[in-house]
Amino acid sequence: MRPMPMRSPVESQPTLAPGTGTGAGLGLRAPHHATVVTSWPEAAWFEVHSENYFADGGLAIDTLEKVRSRYPLSLHGVGLSLGSTDPLNRRHLANLKRLCRRLEPALVSEHLAWSSVGGHFANDLLPLPYTEEAVHHVSEHIIQVQDMLERRILIENVASYVAFTASTLTEWEFVSAVADASGCGLLLDLNNVYVTAHNQGFCWREYLAGIPPALVQEFHLAGHEHRESAGESLLIDTHATRVSDAVWDVYAAALRRFGPRPTLIEWDSDVPPFEVLQSEARKADRYRDTAHAHAA
């Protein structure tokens, strides 16, 4: 086994803290910008895709600054390609740093995935083989990011449709090893846990049981769709529908194991009226309250 990289010497930042009873947040997408900055609706916090605000000025970043003045904010990246064997894109990283300085977000997160090699980008979240080499490699990149941003980041498990013959670790061993080696936290996307478990044939309960609670700093909840093709049942992570009953069950189990964590409702395609997102957030809050009552 190769030696692990050193932990990044980063200071902790003001954050949406686990266990504070903060209500569920909402993914903020362009169709709701005007609603939010004109009516300031009830929402505990917002999360946005960082790359959508890589700009020196303009309507989108102006809107986000207004949102930031009223709500806690989380920046969630989709394009850093942490797992790529290419060097990290310095321009992308500089843009992210500038955005962090401008907005001082409570949380910053990226995906435990790769999307580029040889300078060409797929602009999709491709899964990594779960190997010691990949742990070492992606941890080095996370440390570079944390050093550049001067803060701890969270990494999110992605939905996966393939497994690799090279893998020698389970996914939960892999994500835990990466967090341990890099000093980052985990953003546990419970829809992705469920989707990947279905597609790869493992038990999501085993996944949750394999993650050390102290690593988990945020949950994501989103919708998926079922697809039958060539006699095979696959779940597709679409973010285009309500959270499924099965994933609410995963959330209940996660609350029991990890305790309350900042929880986000993600909805990226066929974005519904804002009130639908709020109703999903209230449902997440009820699950949190129920778990808290049982634990008391």
């Binding site: 894109n89 090699v117 190997t131 080499e133």
Partner: protein, 258 residues
């Protein structure tokens, strides 16, 4: 065991331009279902790229229709794959690609409409700036006016086309004009695009365009005036400066060190 680099290289090659079999040796998916599963990623990659181009080039999308735009986006993606994790960057060379496709047909204007839309995106994302401070100019000795260096608004982009590209764009976005009424041979468009609270378009005369191009290239006010007059003997430097200052196209000046 294959290295991570080998796996990523094979997988991206398979997903981008195929065949998917390039990646299947690395995939543990009971063999027969590996291509099915890989195709989900390929579809995502194509769809994400298509949507990004559609966002940057909404009028081109409307002009050519969804089917042709999707087909063109795919061939463009094969030719010029994304080189950024930010998909807003993906369309930079799309106008040139359209120009190649339509070099010899009656759709040559598509390149310029796309180029206009790319500049609109640039203007939309550029930094804001405070308005020009007239009082500071009053303190400058008039004898050095000719050597002043003048800064244009950071969002300002200059556009020139032999086609009425702005009229085409406006007819699609603002519904100010009937597209069918636009005569493609009806003359050139010269425009300064900028954004303050919203997008603004200043239609330019030949001399005004040359003047702004010269200022944008860092030439002194005097040289820029010469360029304006060389392009158009009727170029009115005083009137142009007043127009561009009041429109906030000009935001700063600097006095040369003696």
């Amino acid at each position: 065991m294959p290295t991570l680099r080998e796996i990523q290289t094979a997988m991206l090659a398979a997903l981008r331009v195929g065949p998917l079999d390039l990646a299947t040796p690395y995939i543990d998916a009971a063999g027969r279902t590996a291509p099915l599963r890989l195709r989900i990623y390929r579809d995502n990659i194509r769809e994400n790229f298509y949507r990004a181009l559609r966002l940057t080039f909404p009028v081109v999308h409307r002009l050519v229709g969804a089917d042709y735009f999707r087909q063109t986006a795919r061939s463009f993606q094969n030719r010029c794959p994304s080189r950024s994790g930010d998909l807003k960057d993906a369309g930079e060379s799309f106008p040139d690609y359209l120009g190649e496709l339509h070099r010899n047909d009656r759709f040559g204007y598509l390149q310029d409409v796309a180029r206009l839309e790319w500049l609109i995106q640039e203007a939309s994302l550029a930094a804001d700036h405070e308005p020009f401070n007239w009082q500071s100019l009053a303190a400058v000795d008039p004898s050095v006016y000719e050597s002043l260096t003048i800064t244009l608004h950071p969002t300002l982009r200059l556009f020139e086309s032999p086609f009425p590209a702005l009229s085409i764009w406006e007819s699609n976005v603002m519904e100010t004009q009937d597209l069918a009424a636009i005569d493609l041979a009806g003359g050139a468009d010269r425009v300064a695009i900028m954004r303050r609270r919203s997008l603004e378009f200043l239609r330019l005369k030949v001399g005004e365009l040359a003047f702004l191009q010269s200022l944008g290239a860092g030439m002194s006010f005097g040289v820029a005036v010469d360029c304006g007059q060389a392009a158009d003997a009727l170029f009115d430097a005083t009137g142009a400066l007043q127009r561009f200052v009041s429109a906030a196209a000009v935001v700063e000046f600097s006095v040369p060190e003696i």
